[in-house]
């Protein structure tokens, strides 16, 4: 058996903190059958509170995304707060926000897999579900803002008897191509590692519609050598290929704004700025989701441990520093002078009627991570990390709010300036959040949220070795 021993970096701290490597999930293996049973049990057993919350969420979703959206479509965009010159409002903010949240999933399951960060193992699926469900909300939000949404199919490049095709000069068409690619590919990437776990669920379900469900989706997977080789090859292709797609998607979304001639939007730094912003809000959302899963799902305290919160916390800190760098870039150039309209945009954001949004954004996006996330004990506290995550997401939502609805107020024709106030957008926004949670709660009943086979794979590869006087954690490259 070829092995390559790699002492984990944290061993330097382990001595200071007197940490027992056996606290880590990778060094605390349980028999696979037991882990399977734990995951299946957490899917089955649930209290009445779960179903009450689900019912409330479902009712609200029907109201907000059903009835209110019906009103929006039948009466027109006038029931929203948009006007001239504020043509775009909260619906666009929601779109950008949800696409941002969705990037976290790809970051964790693709980038961390490529970089072989072992602590990603228990939560890749929870993150990938965030990607898929987040993209659903983003898609809904973009449809909400269309004036004649029943004609959206005109944006699809399909042969038609009118022989009119969509215009690829437009950033909105690049959006369509990129988001469709990303949605399809991340759903496929969610499904691939799910197949062996569905096979496990199929084996552990005796009958009824659930058995049919698992049996159908497990595709007859057994675990033969050929099947594993094909599956891991496909997963590797996806892991490498979806990373540039992820970068391109939010860059293209940022180009919806950067390609416009509006002051404050026409900035060349928007591409990477938005990508880092997406990672910022996404990682924060992962912290929230992990906290919720660990507190509410049975047995998940075995799978999701303080070490995982530590990893997420460190990534959140790193990304917040990158975000601050890009924001400073975007800030200092207009501040320095040159274009009076860009400078006016900055001043309006800082000193205008919505100045408090700007300050809150800076506090939530920079001060909160920089004050909380340096301390390892604090990073490993789930509720504290989740709270930081909520604040960061508030800050990132405000960042997009400042760019879009506050930003459209300023243009080069001062006679037209008018402030935007959201109307029907508020319940519909809350509706998308409720829908996201609802989808997550339903998914937690249907599919195992922990990729148990990946956890076992990691546990097989980890070993504690005594070198000299110390017990060193080692990782073998078994792939």
């Amino acid at each position: 058996m070829a092995s390559y021993a790699k002492p984990l970096a944290r061993q330097k701290h382990a001595e200071e903190h007197e940490e027992d490597p056996r606290q880590h999930l990778m060094h605390d293996p349980l028999p696979r059958g037991q882990m399977n049973a734990m995951v299946m049990e957490s899917m089955r057993e649930t209290g009445p509170i779960f179903w009450i919350i689900t019912a409330v969420l479902a009712a609200f979703v029907v109201f907000a995304l059903g009835y209110e959206w019906y009103v929006l479509i039948m009466q027109g965009q006038g029931v929203a707060g948009v006007t001239r010159p504020d043509y775009w409002g909260v619906f666009l903010v929601n779109t950008v926000f949800w696409i941002g949240i969705s990037h976290a999933g790809t970051f964790i399951s693709a980038i961390l897999r490529v970089l072989k960060v072992e602590s990603r193992r228990p939560f890749t699926r929870a993150a990938e579900l965030m990607t898929t469900f987040g993209l659903v909300q983003a898609g809904l939000s973009i449809f909400m803002h269309l004036g004649r949404v029943w004609l959206t199919y005109w944006m699809f490049p399909i042969p038609n008897q009118r022989t009119i095709w969509p215009d690829f000069h437009s950033p909105l068409m690049w959006d369509l191509m990129a988001i469709t690619t990303y949605l399809l590919c991340s759903t496929m990437y969610l499904f691939l590692p799910l197949i062996p776990d569905l096979a496990m669920a199929r084996d552990r379900t005796q009958g009824g519609w659930l058995k049919v469900f698992y049996k159908t989706l497990a595709l007859g997977f057994r675990g033969t050598e050929g099947e594993w080789k094909n599956l891991t090859t496909a997963m590797n292709i996806f892991a490498f290929a979806i990373i540039p797609v992820m970068f391109s998607v939010h860059t293209i979304v940022s180009w919806d704004f950067a390609m416009a001639t509006r002051p404050g939007w026409n900035s060349t730094v928007f591409g990477p700025y938005f990508v880092i912003g997406a990672l910022h809000s996404g990682m924060a959302a992962v912290a929230i989701v992990l906290f919720l899963l660990r507190s509410t799902m049975k047995h998940y305290k075995y799978f999701i441990r303080p070490e995982h919160f530590n990893t997420i916390g460190m990534l959140m800190l790193l990304v917040s520093m990158a975000w601050a760098y890009f924001y400073f870039n975007d800030y200092i150039v207009p501040w320095y002078g040159g274009d009076i309209w860009d400078k006016l945009f900055q001043e309006y954001a800082e000193e205008g009627p919505k100045w408090y949004l700007w300050y809150t954004m800076l506090i939530c996006n920079i001060a909160v991570p920089w004050l909380i996330l340096w301390n390892r004990k604090w990073r490993e506290t789930p509720w504290l990390l989740a709270l930081a995550g909520i604040l960061i997401n508030v800050g990132m939502y405000l960042e997009r709010y400042i760019i879009i609805p506050v930003g459209v107020t300023i243009n080069r024709m001062p006679f037209t300036w008018r402030q935007y106030e959201p109307r029907i957008e508020i319940p519909m926004t809350v509706g998308t959040f409720a829908f996201f949670l609802l989808l997550y709660m339903l998914a937690s009943r249907l599919i195992p949220l922990i990729p148990v086979w990946e956890v076992q794979e990691g546990q097989e590869a980890h070993l504690i070795r005594k070198i000299g006087k110390a017990e060193i954690s080692t990782l073998s490259e078994m792939e």
Binding site: G33, N230, T232
Partner: protein
């Protein structure tokens, strides 16, 4: 020659399974007649087996090329067929070409890799197959065929190598 019968030997872990594979190879079972079924992917060198061939990457590359041509058609072919002028931009734009071609190439690569998995592994397959549910609980199973009148010999050899059970297996619905 007497008819071949398929036996399934169950092992607790990877080490005894690799011993079992070696035993079978010594007893004359060809690599094609053997298959290892496991709950996690195990590298072929760990088991002492030949490398499995996969066509997924080749199908994926083919899909990438298809995607690239689709992207080029969308961004250049359509304006060639139906040109429409929009403000100050060329009819055949280059930056948009890069963006759309890139997205469609990636979609083709990943989409066809996904399809390639289905095609190469024969998914979905709902016909009866030789399997035992304990595999998803972490056991490693060795599926092999041997002549029916020699099965006692094989069963004893594998039991000595550490198999928990060795028994003939029928295809059953999963």
């Amino acid at each position: 020659m007497s008819e071949p019968i398929t036996l399934l030997a169950m092992f607790e872990d990877i080490e005894p399974a690799s011993e079992g594979v070696e035993k079978l190879q010594q007893m004359g079972v060809t690599d094609d007649d053997m298959n290892v079924i496991s709950g996690i992917p195990v590298k072929n060198t760990i088991l002492g087996r030949p490398a499995a061939i996969t066509y997924v990457s080749r199908i994926g590359m083919f899909g990438a090329i298809l995607g690239m041509f689709l992207g080029i058609f969308l961004i250049y072919g359509i304006p060639y067929l139906y040109p429409l002028l929009v403000g100050g931009q060329p009819i055949y734009p280059i930056p948009q070409g890069i963006i759309i071609t890139f997205e469609m190439t990636m979609l083709g690569l990943m989409g066809f890799s996904f399809i390639g998995l289905f095609v190469d592994s024969g998914f979905p397959s709902y016909t009866p197959q030789k399997y035992t549910p304990e595999i998803s609980d972490g056991k490693v199973a060795l599926l092999f065929s041997c002549p029916v009148n020699e099965q006692e010999k094989f069963i004893d050899a594998l039991k000595n190598a550490g198999a928990v059970t060795v028994a003939p297996v029928e295809a059953r619905h999963l």
